[in-house]
Symmetry: C2
Subunit: 396 residues, 2 copies
């Protein structure tokens, strides 16, 4: 016999892992709006708005700017699946788990992958990319803008973009963690295809992946010698669905599209610069607070992401038990990392609606109590005091 | 300069196309619940509930019962992408657009596809499948349970299941339109892999795809000679994410998962038999009402789906203009079809929350007025009277 399952009743958490973050309440409210059919003129108008809002947030004039009906990973895969043909050379700039994902995706779709790598916690030197381009002549260069696994920001995408143009390679960028939280200057940096996710700085629940690509990428996608293997992630078809042609494809996730529309609209209304500043100040305050508590930050100090802060776990504090205590006692979620960093660092996300001083003060307070409960030597109140000071100094 | 885009304000429609249907308001409400991190124990408990509820609705004990983070099409692709290796023989029972989709998917993933076909509006004779199995010895047989494009129900899946076992082929079933609206007896019919979508009889917005598969399919998936090409739709990975192992993969769409949880819970609480009866009675009443209006139904009368009713468009009524008038004047959405049937038939869905007499009465009233406005000879009131009579007779 079937057993009855009770009503859904998820607790309220402060989501400071690496995503999902807490959406603005207006985003969740928008998702409750009446459902429309996918070819209803009232719905196709919303799709058109999402495309226009997406262009503003990606800072591009690309007509091909829309969203994949899957998570950030689906957006990355749509790009690679649609651009890479078997035997194509792909160069991946790899210094973390999402670089690994690009390697995996390009390999699965038949690419001949070479890599420029850096140790986890460091970033890639653009000159290395230039040298590798000369050596391997790839069709595609894949770069992770914000490497969520390590908290590192890949610098000089503008220079990498110029290098790719010079070598006639396409630049594909994973902007999953950066879009909406710091500049992602698609056109100025000459990014040929960029994709993101909804559940990080965009501030929407997980489930869709904004994507944009220019004429050079579109030309490659529509003039392939071999068919695109995935149907669901086939950009050649999807771009005809997201256009006045309205080619029938899958049934767009209506409520997620509403959420994305509202999240992008809130970003544009706030103003991109204001939003980037908010993320930067919040991240700076968090990092300063952690250091004032005697906690060591992970990775190259020159290239830290504003929205993901990676801290070394103090000696003697158990990873899983520590995070469980944060969650159970304070309702605060933080994340560990993968592979070599699993259990060694915690990653604290301050993204979207949570990129505010109040988040930092709550997290630092909770951390102080939890770390002290495991006998770590953390001074009382120092983190909060310093975070507030840094945040307010930046405001003045 | 960016232009400001106004607040989302979609109108209320009665969605009687082929999906999305109007979700139960409780489903939309559940989607507004606080967002949780994907590895939060409170969230993994919800995933476990979704799996258990999915088993009840699919009528299976398959441990591998979960949901793909994409629409129904993504569920079908996950199955084919994970089962089919290049060179594998695949037999598709094809009598409509979703049979065509199986052919497309299997071909994209390297399958050698043969087909058993029937004219659109008819169904496949199971003996033809048996004969084709003997002839082509496929590894996989793909069957569309409810062919949404034509409104036809493929009968005798139990017999097809027995035939597949006898020939040691895997039976893959598209249950996108049928699951939650009529029996889909996964275990009794020996379906090896079945998938569905959320936006039809499950009664949730579009965006996830329930899936189930048994030990035989799992064995094929995990002992392939070639890697699965798609990462996002790789069942070998996804089954490890949807399990106590909690392998990190994509970030599950939290709010969609809440919606699916609530939608499945409402189905189980209503009772499967009661729900099937409700769909059948509603579809019968609609069909009787249409015939009383002098409207001809499309397709083989012995094999009509309860939840999708396909009617011939009366002479002289323009398709697009007619549907636009239904939408604008009555807020009622119906669908046309594809290919040879485009503009010739209208398809009326009565699914999930809308599988009620009130939907039928509203649709018939709106149809009567709109068809008459194009000078079709439709008697006043006859459709509603007959639909009410048929519905009430079935209740007594």
């Amino acid at each position: 016999m079937s057993h009855l399952i009770g009503e859904l009743s998820p607790p309220v958490r402060l989501l400071c892992g690496t995503g999902p973050t807490n959406p603005d309440p207006r985003v969740l409210r928008a998702m409750g709006a009446p459902v429309l059919g996918q070819f209803d003129p009232a719905f196709t108008a919303i799709m058109t708005d999402v495309m226009e809002l997406g262009r503003q947030v990606f800072r591009t004039v690309n007509p091909r700017t829309f969203a994949i009906s899957g998570t950030g990973r689906a957006g990355m895969e749509a790009g690679i699946a649609s651009l890479v043909e078997p035997g194509d050379r792909v160069l991946v700039a790899n210094c973390g788990r999402f670089g690994d994902l690009f390697v995996d995706l390009a390999t699965r779709y038949g690419g001949i992958v070479s890599q420029v790598t850096a140790e986890w916690g460091k970033v890639i030197d653009p000159q290395q990319i230039d040298a590798a381009l000369q050596r391997t002549r790839p069709k595609i260069v894949a770069v992770v803008h914000g490497e969520t696994s390590t908290g590192m920001l890949q610098p000089m995408l503008d220079e990498i973009g110029r290098t790719c143009r010079r070598h006639e390679a396409l630049l594909v960028v994973d902007a999953v963690v950066t879009l909406g939280g710091m500049p992602v200057d698609t056109d100025a940096w000459q990014i040929d295809l960029g994709s993101a996710g909804t559940q990080k700085c965009i501030g929407c629940p997980s489930g869709m992946a904004p994507i944009t690509y220019g004429a050079r990428a579109e030309e490659v996608i529509t003039s392939r010698k071999t068919p695109i293997i995935s149907n669901y992630l086939d950009l050649a078809q999807l771009q005809r669905y997201w256009s006045p042609e309205r080619l029938n494809h899958h049934t767009l996730p209506t409520s997620m599209t509403y959420g994305l529309h509202e999240a992008l609209r809130l970003i544009v209304n706030e103003g991109l610069e204001a939003r980037w500043t908010r993320h930067q100040r919040t991240g700076d305050a968090l990092k300063a607070g952690l250091e004032a508590m005697g906690i060591q930050l992970f990775g190259d100090p020159k290239h830290r992401l504003p929205m993901i802060t990676a801290m070394m776990l103090p000696e003697g504090v158990p990873d899983e038990e520590g995070r469980a205590r944060l969650l159970e006692e304070f309702g605060v979620e933080v994340a560990t990392s993968f592979g070599p960093l699993r259990g060694r660092i915690w990653r604290i996300g301050t993204m979207g609606y949570n990129a505010e001083l109040r988040t930092v003060l709550t997290v630092l307070t909770a951390l102080e109590h939890v770390l002290r409960s495991f006998y770590a030597r953390v001074p009382r109140g120092a983190g909060v005091d310093e975070a507030r000071r840094v945040y307010e100094r930046a405001a003045s």
